[in-house]
């Protein structure tokens, strides 16, 4: 029974964490879109956050 109770607690915990992650990701999407639109309006290139940024490809 104890083990069961613990499982249900951790299930709630998992659900809580999932919800926080989902909320965060949805918020990030919104502000990243806002920023992209404002940069475009200002005539600026989109932000490139890829790790290979700055690496020049020589062909």
């Amino acid at each position: 029974e104890d083990a069961l109770a613990q499982t249900s607690v951790s299930k709630e915990q998992i659900a809580h964490r999932r919800r926080l992650m989902d909320e965060w990701n949805a918020w990030r999407k919104r502000v990243e879109n806002e920023l992209a639109e404002e940069r475009e309006l200002a005539g600026l290139p989109p932000i490139d956050t890829r790790e290979d940024e700055g690496v020049e490809v020589i062909e």
Binding site: R17, V31, T49
Partner: protein, 341 residues
């Protein structure tokens, strides 16, 4: 995760900053100098001599996404410092030469380049009949003409500004106040656009996320908090058991690193080497780890722009550079493992 100890300052550290590439670490301290170090091995590259008081603040360009790539390249060669000698100085990073000095009536407590590197803000102290202020310095015109325009000055209210940063696209300034208030100011008109009062004590640090859409504050009220830049809406809160002096956002893992500590007087002899940088999960608001080592309060924390290491500067006069080990990058909550990172 064996830290590298940078010994060179003879008094407390006040601020540390990585450059854009992350190969250099700049440090300001109460010993009147700014130092520059190689971040990978801790070797000291040079010292910027010229201030005649404690250096409270230093800035170089750290973000990847500035407005104009051409000015960024120039700015990575530039360094700004602010001091208790009532001046702000602009330095050539490579030669160590002071290119310009701005004089104020009071100490310069915080300095920060704008996103396009053409301007900077300088937070000046309130004392002896002078109101605390935020001055806007024109870096580009100083470099072009060698002469400075009279800086535009904002007088934040109702309590003085202690820390400040630029919003993305230089839309506004975000200011942290002595009484725990945060505010948004139009730097062109000096008008207050928005304010909130999330902290109950002085705000000690304010650092932007890499894209400046959100920022973290630390406070003597023992908490660090996360806010959306455009609205100042609160996003997250990290409640600790000690006064916080610095907080930084990590670019790889979703962490916040906070540091601080009681004044040395209050804990003398009992907690040698026990001052800790605490890692909090940025989104879940849970503490996930601690890194100890300093012999006094942690005054300043900075994360390498690639997210693979971080540094802390202490009241003890040392800078500790920590390179994260494998475990750090593998860290995840069990239930999120399948989501992939």
């Amino acid at each position: 995760m064996r830290p590298i100890l940078l010994q060179g300052h003879t008094r407390s550290l006040t601020q540390i900053k990585y450059n854009r590439e992350g190969d250099l670490l700049f440090s300001s301290a109460k010993d009147h100098v700014v130092n520059v170090w190689f971040s990978h091995n801790g070797e000291r590259l040079g010292t910027y001599n010229g201030h005649i008081g404690a250096v409270w603040t230093v800035d170089n360009i750290t973000f990847f996404n500035s407005l104009s790539p051409s000015t960024c390249i120039a700015a990575s060669k530039l360094l700004l410092s602010g001091s208790a000698d009532n001046t702000a100085k602009l330095w050539d990073v490579r030669t160590g030469k002071c290119l310009h000095t701005w004089e104020f009536h009071t100490a310069v407590k915080r300095i920060a380049f704008s996103e396009d590197d053409t301007m900077a803000l300088a937070v000046t102290e309130q004392q002896m009949g002078y109101q605390g202020a935020v001055a806007i310095l024109k870096i580009d015109s100083v470099l072009e003409t060698g002469e400075q325009d009279e800086p535009f000055v904002i007088n934040p209210e109702p309590t003085k500004a202690v820390v400040a940063a630029w919003g993305y696209l230089n839309k506004y300034l975000i200011i942290g106040h002595k009484d725990g208030m945060i505010s948004q100011y139009d730097w062109k008109t000096g008008q207050k656009l928005n304010s909130k009062h999330p902290h109950s004590d002085v705000i000690t640090d304010l650092q932007m996320s890499p894209d400046r859409t959100y920022f973290v504050t630390s406070s003597k009220d023992k908490s660090a908090q996360l806010f959306e830049s455009n609205t100042l809406n609160p996003l997250k809160k990290y409640v600790t058991d000690c006064p916080l002096i610095s907080a930084s956002i990590t670019p790889i893992q979703d962490f916040i690193i906070v540091g601080g500590g009681q004044d040395a007087m209050q804990v003398a002899g009992t907690s040698r080497g026990k001052f800790e940088c605490r890692f909090w999960h940025k989104i879940l608001e849970e503490e996930v780890g601690r890194v100890k080592g300093h012999f006094g309060p942690i005054n300043t924390i900075a994360v390498h722009p690639d997210g693979k290491s971080f540094s802390s500067g202490g009241e003890d006069g040392y800078i500790r550079v920590h390179h994260f080990d494998e475990d750090y990058f593998k860290f995840t909550y069990p239930e999120f493992q399948h989501i992939g990172a």
